[in-house]
Amino acid sequence: MELAFDREAAKRERIAFVRTYAAWVKKTPNAEWSREQAVLIDSLVENARNMPLSPRIYIDRVAKTTKARRHLQNKTV
């Protein structure tokens, strides 16, 4: 089954969101935007800390991701 997915449209939409979010941060006091951001960041850090992942598996995974990214960059340059 082929999924109808417009990658470019999704990318434009995400960039528009980033711009809107940045505009909100710019007009919001530091204490407020940073506290809201901390709710997200701290929960991600907590989840990661509880993840049962060994250093060896993590390093292997990172090496594979880096290799794939370099391959993609070389193809597009």
Binding site: K11, V18, A22, N30, W33, I41, V45, M51, L53
Partner: protein
Amino acid sequence: MELQYSDREIGVSEKYLTQLDRFVLGFTRILEQRTAYVIVSGYVAILFGRSRGTEDVDILIPHLERETFSQLHRDLTEKGYEFLNAENAEGLYDMLCRGMGIRIAEKDRVIPNIELKFLKDETDLCVLRDRTAVKMPGAVLYISPLDIQIAYKLWLGSDKDIEDAVYLWEIFKDNLDHTVMKSRMDEFGVSGEDYGIGV
């Protein structure tokens, strides 16, 4: 966002420090006892409010002598950090000398971690030389100059990197020197026009 922006210094008063910020600060306080450093890549955007997480924080340092690295290795180990790569201090040093990154996390954790590398080229040297101090309540971190950071992110080119570049541009476009920004973009051979980065 209230910023006190000047050449090579950005003040962010009343910023609430996240667990990620505290992790980075804990590490850099030990690191800076032995060497200068500069933070590059994704964490820079997160530091200024970008709403995303990251597994790792990239930090560049100048080439260290083997003995200095051994001392740093000892400092970090004694203060509760762990090297994720399987090598001992000698092996880790050799990795750094070969241009590879080594990863360091709090003991018994994997994420978040620091990816530490030696400077490898002229751009890296420039990033360290012109590093920007970010002053937060009770803390200072040194980051890559924002014009280089934005151009570099565009050059990397993944969706996440482009979004980071757009975010930093939107936050700092009124502070950045557009002529310098343009020359950075030219150096990296990138254009931000498609993403509204208009210099």
